[in-house]
């Protein structure tokens, strides 16, 4: 019997080995696959187990966290949700994260290895540190001024510090409260459905993610290209432009909202926004020079991150002369985000240099030690310093005695450019009112703020003035807030 007992024992040993081999398969070799299965709730539970770090504006958190005691335990709260929604985005148990909540998720949720005192060990153990904080470049006063200025109208504002690229304000209206998407309850699903079904698209971040035809504000780019390429050498010389101007190779005639544009100088054309002059100028400057300059201003760059990802602004690279003429006045296929147009104004203000726009000053651990800070980076030199100086002068005249007088601030040097963008089938839509500008305090060596404002439903009798009428006062309020800060 002894032999058979030993055989039976060997059989039991075989069973044990089978169990151990299979357990090793599940726990070691196939573990990653099981961990990655989207139906595995562990990742979500881990994720919300601890309070999320905060997003700071002016040193104060605009986000918060509340402990619900539920399975996905901590829910995000927002102090002034609608005001900062384009900056923060939302952090939802159900619908994921957007904007800074998304771009800085590893810091906020505590998975970023750099948050730990011993990053390498931390990476190895895959443990979580307490969520870190994200210190933004946003100035509360500027943000509030922009939000109040839009006053519920559909539109967006982006404000920059020209010398650094720091984003001072990022506003999109109508807005929404991201807190409504925190949690797992029925009301969250209802909010999600309602926000997505809203024809006004309150969750659309118009400042970063929506591109508009920039209209006459694009004339800044066209002027820069013409000056840099030598197409224009004297801003006061007549430009030999007919009024109306027939688009090359077509019978379409382009006219102006103002008088005096025939053969007008660049100075006059810029101040009064003559379409005929700039369309011809764009076509004369040529596709190559126009595309190059637009690219250096930041157009056609699909990978812009601030670190929230920004929709690419576009300027077509192959066009006939008629299309190029229209593109030169910000129509045809030319499209830009408000942030892009703020960058255009900032480039003029900053001697031609385009600084990388950024929304995050630095990230810190929960106890405030800096983990990472965003350096100031020059993206391109969009134009020569002389051209920038010239354009500054031209933009200042727009505000002093042109289409942009509504943006003037007493005692402050303000440069601007109005724009009214036609859109819709056969230009049937209500035009978009644009205003881009910069402001320089007396005594300062250089402008300290650049702004782009777009208002979608601006109604105005004289189309080209609508940028000056609807958008310029908002820009003025934003610049005033930035200068007094």
């Amino acid at each position: 019997m002894t032999r058979y007992i030993r055989h039976a024992a060997a059989f039991c040993l075989l069973l044990l080995v089978a169990l151990l081999v299979n357990a090793t398969r599940v726990q070691v070799f196939d573990a990653q696959e099981y961990d990655d299965n989207p139906a595995n709730r562990r990742r979500d539970i881990e994720r919300f187990a601890a309070a999320r770090g905060d997003i700071l504006v002016d040193g104060r958190p605009v986000t918060g966290s509340k402990d619900t005691g539920e399975q996905l335990r901590h829910e995000r709260t927002y102090a002034q949700g609608p005001l900062y929604a384009p900056v923060t985005g939302f952090a939802s148990q159900v619908y994921g994260t957007t904007f800074l909540e998304h771009a800085e998720d590893s810091v906020l949720s505590g998975t970023e290895p750099m948050l730990a005192p011993l990053p390498l060990w931390h990476d190895l153990t895959r443990s979580r540190s307490p969520g870190g904080d994200v210190v933004t470049t946003v100035k509360a006063a500027v943000q509030r001024a922009a939000y109040a200025g839009l006053d519920g109208k559909k539109g967006a504002v982006a404000a920059l510090e020209p010398a650094t690229g720091r984003i001072l304000a990022l506003v999109s209206t109508p807005s929404y409260d991201p807190e409504r998407l925190s949690g797992t309850g029925r009301s969250v699903a209802d909010s999600w459905a309602r926000l997505n079904g809203d024809p006004d698209k309150p969750m659309l971040n118009r400042a970063l993610r929506q591109t508009y035809p920039p209209g006459s504000t694009f004339k800044v780019v066209t002027a820069a290209a013409a000056l840099d390429s030598g197409e224009i050498t004297d801003v006061d010389a007549p430009t030999k432009s007919p009024d109306p101007f027939t688009l090359p190779g077509t019978s379409t005639r382009l006219s102006n909202e103002v008088t005096g544009c025939a053969d007008a100088s660049l100075r006059y054309a810029f101040r009064w926004s003559c379409n005929t002059v700039f369309a011809k100028l764009g076509a004369d400057t040529g596709l190559g020079a126009m595309v190059e300059t637009a690219g250096k201003f930041g157009f056609n760059d699909p990978g812009v991150k601030v670190p929230s990802s920004v929709a690419a602004s576009t300027f077509d690279t192959s066009m006939d002369r008629a299309q190029l003429a229209l593109s030169a006045i910000g129509q045809y296929d030319t499209r830009a985000t408000p942030l892009q147009m703020a960058s255009v104004a900032a480039a003029v203000a900053n001697g031609g240099f385009v600084k990388a726009p950024h929304l995050v000053e630095r990230t810190t651990t929960a106890s405030g030690t800096t983990v990472d800070s965003t350096p100031t980076r020059t993206l391109h030199q969009a134009m020569g310093p002389g051209t920038a100086m010239r354009l500054r002068e031209l933009m200042t005249e727009v505000v002093e005695r042109g289409t942009g007088t509504n943006a003037a601030i007493p005692g402050v040097t303000v440069g601007g450019k109005t724009g009214t963008a036609q859109h819709g089938l056969g230009n049937s839509g209500t035009p978009y009112a644009w205003f881009i500008s910069w402001a320089q305090k007396p005594g300062d060596g250089e402008p300290s703020v650049a702004v782009a404002v777009v208002v979608e439903d601006a109604a105005a009798a004289r189309a080209d003035i609508s940028g000056g009428g609807s958008a310029a006062p908002i820009a003025r309020a934003v610049m005033e807030a930035a200068l007094s800060g």
Binding site: A8, L19, N22, A23, T24, V26, Q27, V28, A31
Partner: protein
């Protein structure tokens, strides 16, 4: 020639102290992980477990001084760990606390263990009750049919707040009957009857009949009750003991063939089992169908989350498995929170328990004792394999309780009785080991012509 056999009771005591301390450490660890403080019941828990273990130790010291010193500590450690895991899962289900009840059942189990060690002076006594055992086993198994089904299986008797699972006790009774019957008839089983092919020798129906009848009856009842784990266990127990008793490899072949045929028939005809097999083959089918993970998928997630070293006690999420987390799936909590390292340790504890049972079987001289020891050890081995294989996706899932670890009073009590019997058997084995001479069983076998 008389050789003095070491009793090793001191070793046992030391190991018991280690087992109790490890359990208390685990208990404190759960509290520290969850609330940052030592749970208020830690002292009481430690004292309770310690007193129980010491009582059992005293009983062994006085009445079974030669018993294997590993059996009791292993049982204490597994039971203690089981209580920790159930307490830990109780934290996730505040409305449904199972640990206090489990502690009561553990106490009853240890009490019965002490009673068996003290009262059963010689295991051969059990032989006399072989037929009584089998009748009792069948009655116990049939009774639950008259009680309402719980989660699809009619294996419980509910009286007042307590529910017991009589089938658990039937395991021991059936092992006693098989061991006794096979010990009495093994020569006839091995030598008489006609030869089919070269190896399979079919014994006469007179010898084989009763045991096959009992086995078929019990499996039939279990299938009626949808207790597939236990029917598989009885089948395995029967085949192992038949093989050990007769040494006929043919029995294994026949057993495997029967098992395959039976499994195929039940698997394709019985919807309950069919779905278990389908789950085993495609654990993520319900996820792909958009219905979320089923229990097996959740169990696999839990094991995977544990990885090599585990999340630490109290820090896993195995409660996601749902209602059976404390019973059938308790191993998933061990796998997640203690990792492959902890799981391997637990498997090795079981393996050691089984090995000690086998060792007692080898050392014993009477065929009944040998078969009983092998039978009891095999019950543990098969049960661990079936349930652990099930929850880790190695074999289709069958509902069964992990010995000592899982929530379930009948199971804990039964396993303590198994340990008590193994203590008694190993005591006999080692007490006479010094007396010299071959075990009687083997001599008998060697005399038998093949």
């Amino acid at each position: 020639m008389e050789v003095r056999v070491p009793r090793r009771r001191g070793t046992e005591l030391a190991l018991i102290v280690v087992a109790v301390l490890l359990s208390v450490y685990g208990y404190c660890d759960v509290g520290l992980a969850r609330t940052g403080s030592v749970p208020p019941g830690a002292a009481g828990y430690g004292a309770g477990l310690g007193v129980l273990a010491l009582l059992a130790h005293l009983a062994v010291r006085l009445r079974a001084p030669y018993a294997d010193p590993l059996l009791l500590p292993i049982a204490v450690l597994l039971n203690g760990l089981g209580l920790v895991l159930i307490y830990r899962l109780d934290l996730e289900t505040p409305g449904d606390r199972a640990a206090p009840t489990q502690l009561i059942w553990s106490t009853i189990g240890v009490g019965l263990c002490v009673a068996v060690v003290v009262l059963l002076r010689d295991h051969r006594l059990l032989r006399r009750y072989a037929y009584l055992s089998v009748v009792a086993a069948l009655v116990l198994m049939i009774v639950p049919i008259f009680f309402p089904a719980v989660n699809g299986a009619r294996i419980w008797i509910r009286v007042g707040g307590f529910s017991i699972q009589p089938g658990e006790f039937a395991k021991i009774l059936l092992a006693v009957f098989f061991a006794s019957y096979l010990a009495a008839n093994r020569t006839a089983l091995a030598t008489t009857g006609r030869t089919l092919w070269k190896f399979v020798q079919l014994p006469t129906g007179r010898v084989l009949g009763p045991v096959v009848a009992i086995w078929l009856l019990s499996v039939g009842v279990l299938v009626l009750e949808r207790d597939l784990g236990t029917s598989l266990l009885f089948f395995g127990l029967f085949v192992v003991l038949l093989y050990v008793a007769t040494g006929r490899t043919g029995w294994i072949a026949v057993g495997l063939l029967l098992a395959a045929a039976g499994a195929y028939a039940v698997g394709s005809l019985e919807p309950h089992v069919h779905s278990r097999v389908a789950d085993w083959l495609h654990p993520f089918a319900s996820i792909e169908a958009g219905q979320g993970p089923n229990q097996l998928a959740q169990s696999l997630f839990a094991f995977a989350a544990g990885g090599l070293l585990g999340t630490g006690l109290g820090l896993g999420h195995s409660i996601l498995i749902g209602f059976a987390a404390k019973s059938d799936f308790i191993l998933a909590t061990a796998g997640e929170e203690l990792g492959l390292a902890g799981l391997t340790a637990i498997f090795l504890l079981y393996a050691l328990l089984v090995e000690r049972g086998y060792r007692a079987g080898l050392a014993l001289r009477d065929p009944f004792g040998r078969l009983l020891a092998i039978g009891l050890a095999s019950i543990v081995a098969l049960q661990v394999f079936v349930i652990a294989g099930g929850v880790t996706g190695l074999i289709p899932l069958t509902g069964m309780a992990m010995p000592f670890l899982a929530q379930g009073g009948s199971s804990v009590v039964t396993n303590w009785i198994i340990v008590a019997l193994l203590i008694r058997l190993s005591d006999s084995a080692r007490a006479h080991a010094g007396a010299g001479g071959e075990p009687a069983g083997d001599r008998l076998h060697q005399e038998a012509p093949r």
